[in-house]
Structure formats: structure tokens, C-alpha cells
């Protein structure tokens, strides 16, 4: 059961990446390759707030949320906006990768290349739960991830803005013709995705350390989570992330510490072959 808890905690991080991809994809039709980097910056800002400034938990979380939201807005302005309205809209696949590289470099320049320890905000004493041990901070990570994922899912189905975001993902022009300000919606999605990444900086950092190339590994597993869950489905991304984390943890435990990545990518390829739209039948067909 300890392995299950470890898998769920790692999986929560992958779910967060998948959720971030989905928020932006649903509202603006853009795949933001730099989202994992936003979470990476979130862990550094959490370090800066908690350690450098010595702030309490709430101000640290707010600082990280606001900081990452601003960075996401800058990314939207620089890497996305100039390409909107162009017929070859797949340019954003490249500019968001560029944004990711820039963020990696900036983080290394500002915070250095050595991993920094983000303090755990909860007691370090492990809890024994359902026959396994789990750190309180990991339990909080799992819980809050579930809340955010399910919350965003319900929001997109039961509020006017949420429906508008689904509609504009399906057909941008038709959404404009109904009076929806699709551009504002896209900008808002970046801000929300950034803020969520910032909020989780403290909890994620407590598990992974703040390190400049965190984004790379997380991005890959975020993809796997999306592939399992189906792009455009928040619940799918949530489940996909947790499933990826569990596969990773069990492979590490029972096959060997050298193999979890290979096993995860084996599962990834298998799903691409068998169910290219993901196990939960994508809510959104990608037109290329």
C-alpha cells in the first residue's frame, strides 16, 4: 500500500501537468508545451517565498500563484498571440517549446543548477493509512489535485464560462458568432493554468525539490497522462496522471529501479496503438 501512496503522490503531479495542458487546450485550442515549466517555476517561487523571504504558507502560495500566472500571461502574449489568426496555427507547437526552453534557462540563471529543498509545510511524521505509510504533504498533494481536477471538470460542464470554453475549443469561429470573446477566454485560460501551477509549487516542490530541469521529465509524463486520459477531458487527465504514477511506482518496486520509465513508455505506446484517443474517449477531436 505504501507503493500505492507513492504512486498516487507522483501521479498527482502528472495529473496536474495534464490538467494544465487541458485548461489551455480547451479554452484556446493551443497545446502549451511549457506548462510543466510553469510548475517548475512554481516550485522555485515557493522556495523563494518560504525560504528566502521566510513567509508563512498562505502568502507563499499566493506569491507563487500570482508569479506563475503573470509568467503564463507573458508567455501567451509573446509565444501565442502573434500567431493567432494565422492560417498555419500549428506554429504554437514550436513557440511554446521555445517558451519552455527560455524558462529552463532563466530558472538555471536565477536559482542555479543545484536542486533546492522546498520545505514541507506539514509535519514530516508519516501517517499510516489503509496499511501503508504516506507523508502528510503527499496526502495533501493527492487531495488538492483531486479537488482541482474534479472542480475544473464540474466548472466546465455547469457554468456559462465553462461551456463557452468547451464550445470555443470545438469551433472557435462558431463560438465568436455566439458572442463569446474567444481571445479573452484564451488569455484567461493561461492565467488560470499558471495560477494553479503556482498554487501547487509548494506541495510539488516538497516532493521533487526545486530544480531547473524538472519540467523536462514532468512534461513527458504529463503527455503519457493525457494519452491515457484523452486530451480535452479533465477527468481523463486526472485519472491518466494517477494511473501513470501507479505504473511508475509499481514498476520501480517490482521490476527494478532502472525500469519504471521504460515500462511507462511501453504502456504509453500500447495505448497509442490500441486507443489513440485515450481510454476515456476524448471529448475533443484534434483537427490537423
Amino acid at each position: 500500500m505504501t507503493t500505492v501512496w507513492a504512486g498516487l503522490a507522483t501521479g498527482a503531479i502528472y495529473s496536474l501537468i495534464a490538467i494544465g495542458y487541458n485548461v489551455v487546450l480547451l479554452a484556446s485550442g493551443t497545446f502549451n508545451f511549457a506548462h510543466a515549466q510553469l510548475l517548475m517555476v512554481g516550485t522555485f517561487l515557493a522556495y523563494t517565498g518560504a525560504v528566502t523571504f521566510g513567509l508563512p504558507v498562505l502568502p507563499t502560495v499566493l506569491l507563487a500563484a500570482a508569479g506563475v500566472a503573470v509568467i503564463a500571461l507573458v508567455e501567451e502574449r509573446v509565444a501565442i498571440r502573434p500567431l493567432l489568426g494565422r492560417t498555419d496555427s500549428h506554429g504554437t507547437l514550436i513557440t511554446t517549446v521555445g517558451a519552455a526552453t527560455v524558462l529552463d534557462g532563466l530558472a538555471a540563471a536565477i536559482w542555479g543548477r543545484q536542486p533546492l529543498t522546498v520545505p514541507s509545510v506539514l509535519p514530516d511524521e508519516p501517517l499510516t493509512l489503509l496499511g501503508g505509510t504516506v507523508r502528510p504533504v503527499d496526502l495533501a498533494l493527492i487531495g488538492f489535485t483531486l479537488v482541482v481536477g474534479v472542480g475544473l471538470h464540474l466548472w466546465s460542464r455547469h457554468t456559462l464560462t465553462g461551456l463557452a470554453s468547451l464550445a470555443s475549443a470545438e469551433d472557435r469561429d462558431a463560438a465568436s458568432a455566439r458572442g463569446i470573446n474567444v481571445r479573452l477566454l484564451g488569455v484567461g485560460a493561461f492565467a488560470v493554468a499558471g495560477a494553479v501551477a503556482g498554487v501547487f509549487g509548494l506541495l510539488v516542490g516538497a516532493r521533487t525539490y526545486a530544480v531547473f530541469d524538472l519540467g523536462h521529465s514532468l512534461a513527458l509524463f504529463g503527455f503519457v497522462a493525457i494519452a491515457i486520459g484523452g486530451s480535452g477531458s479533465q477527468l481523463g487527465g486526472l485519472i491518466g496522471g494517477f494511473a501513470t504514477g501507479l505504473v511508475y511506482a509499481f514498476a520501480a518496486r517490482y521490476i527494478g529501479a532502472a525500469y519504471p520509465q521504460i515500462v511507462v513508455f511501453g504502456v504509453f505506446l500500447l495505448i497509442l496503438f490500441l486507443r489513440p484517443r485515450g481510454l476515456f474517449g476524448a471529448a475533443l477531436e484534434r483537427r490537423v
Partner: protein, 250 residues
């Protein structure tokens, strides 16, 4: 009252509209005729704010110039467009589509205030949509999808309704029904309507005014009576150069 003057535009460097003029009188139907590729859909897109490039010209609705406004603001000003091919949100339910149609109506709640009233009105207008309100729009028949598209466009209570080939892809028995409904929107609710329609005879039956497009230009326009003998229209569809027609009619 819609008045379009001197609108030129297209897709980037590709121009598809040249100095277009068109009017829709209050409570009347203007039908736009022309062969495939004449620029009819582009004209509606330009008025709705969806044509990527529009250079110059005025698009006035009741005296308010909307030429520079983004599409979503034109909806708030009272323009409504029913795009071709029954373009509803196929992955959303019928009711969600209608609620999205009422996006610009006030009120925070999804089914609150003005949206609830407009939804009720849409269901009264199209009872079949109430029966199928939880069905995905993509699962409706062609005729039902067209009703949904029209019901969606009517949700905010527009001043001007634009319809792009509402009869395309529908069974012949339904075509009359759809066009009769368009006429009823004018007769009973006083809507001004700009209609693009390939079924010329059906469209002329309900038209008040006619505009004929060719190669991205309006080559002739006027009250339907001018076109009664059918000569102009025959020539447009069967061929003869637009220039001769222009000089012959102005």
C-alpha cells in the same frame, strides 16, 4: 436596418470581396443570389466579423458602425449569424447549445434570468428541441440541427438575422418548412433578415429585396419586383458577363 458600404476584404492577401454594398430594410428579407464562389458566404462573414481581413468600408446596424468591432461585440450589437452546414456545437447537448446562444444575455447563473426566458421561448418555437434537450447536437437529424442553429442564433433577441444556405443538405420536404419559418420570423416578429440561399425559387418566394453577387461584387440589387421576369437571374446563373448586367440595370 443594415447598411454595408464599400467593404473590401478576404483571407490575408487573397481578396474575395470588392467594394461591396448591401442593405437590409427593417423587417424585410434581402436574398443574396450568386453562383458558388461568388462571395456570398464571405459577405456574411464580413458582416459578422469573421472574415480574417476587411479593409475599409462601413457596416452599420441601425446607424452604429460595426466595421472595426470584433465578432463577439457585433453579437451584442444585435447581429446574429447562422453559419452554413448547420454549424452547432456537436459535442454539446441541445440545451447547452441554446444556453451558449444566450451567452451575451445578462445574469450570472447558467439558467438564470434572461437566459431562462429565452430558453423557454426557443423550446416553444421548436418543441422537438425540448424533447431532445439532453441529446448531443451531433446526434440530431439535419433538420433538427438547422432548427437548433436558428434557435441558438435567436436566443439573444437579435435585430438582424443572417442565414447562410439554411436549406443545404436538408430533405426537400423540410426545405419549405425552414424557409416558411424564416418568412414567419419577418412577418410575426419583424426581424430583418439577410439570406443566402441556393434554392433560388424558394428564396425568391419569401424575398423582399434581392442582391446578386458575382466575383466578389454585388452586380445588381433592388426590390424583388425588378427581378420578377427572371431574366437577370437566369443570366447570372447561366452565364453572360457581369459588366453587361451592371450597365443594363443601373
Amino acid at each position: 436596418m443594415l447598411s454595408v458600404t464599400g467593404v473590401t476584404g478576404g483571407y490575408g492577401d487573397l481578396r474575395v470581396l470588392w467594394d461591396v454594398e448591401a442593405t437590409v430594410r427593417p423587417g424585410r428579407i434581402t436574398v443574396v443570389l450568386g453562383r458558388n464562389g461568388a462571395g456570398k458566404t464571405s459577405l456574411l462573414s464580413a458582416v459578422a466579423g469573421l472574415l480574417p481581413t476587411v479593409s475599409g468600408g462601413r457596416i452599420e446596424l441601425d446607424g452604429q458602425d460595426l466595421a472595426g468591432a470584433p465578432a463577439h461585440r457585433r453579437v451584442r450589437a444585435g447581429l446574429a449569424l447562422v453559419q452554413e452546414n448547420k454549424r452547432v456545437f456537436r459535442a454539446r447537448t441541445v440545451e447547452e447549445n441554446l444556453l451558449l446562444g444566450g451567452y451575451t444575455l445578462g445574469g450570472f447563473g447558467l439558467r438564470g434570468g434572461a437566459r431562462r426566458a429565452a430558453l423557454e421561448q426557443a423550446y416553444e418555437r421548436f418543441p422537438v428541441l425540448r424533447q431532445r434537450r439532453r441529446a448531443l447536437a451531433g446526434s440530431l437529424s439535419g433538420g433538427q440541427q438547422q432548427m437548433l442553429a436558428i434557435g441558438q442564433a435567436l436566443m439573444p433577441g437579435p435585430k438582424l438575422l443572417m442565414l447562410d444556405e439554411p436549406s443545404a443538405g436538408l430533405a426537400p420536404s423540410i426545405v419549405n418548412e425552414v424557409l416558411a419559418m424564416v418568412a414567419a420570423l419577418r412577418d410575426q416578429e419583424g426581424l430583418s433578415i439577410l439570406l443566402v440561399e441556393q434554392r433560388i425559387e424558394h428564396a425568391l418566394e419569401i424575398a423582399d429585396d434581392v442582391a446578386v453577387m458575382e466575383n466578389g461584387r454585388i452586380i445588381t440589387a433592388g426590390p424583388k419586383s425588378v427581378f420578377d421576369d427572371g431574366a437577370v437571374i437566369r443570366e447570372v446563373y447561366l452565364g453572360r458577363s457581369g459588366e453587361e448586367l451592371t450597365t443594363g440595370n443601373q
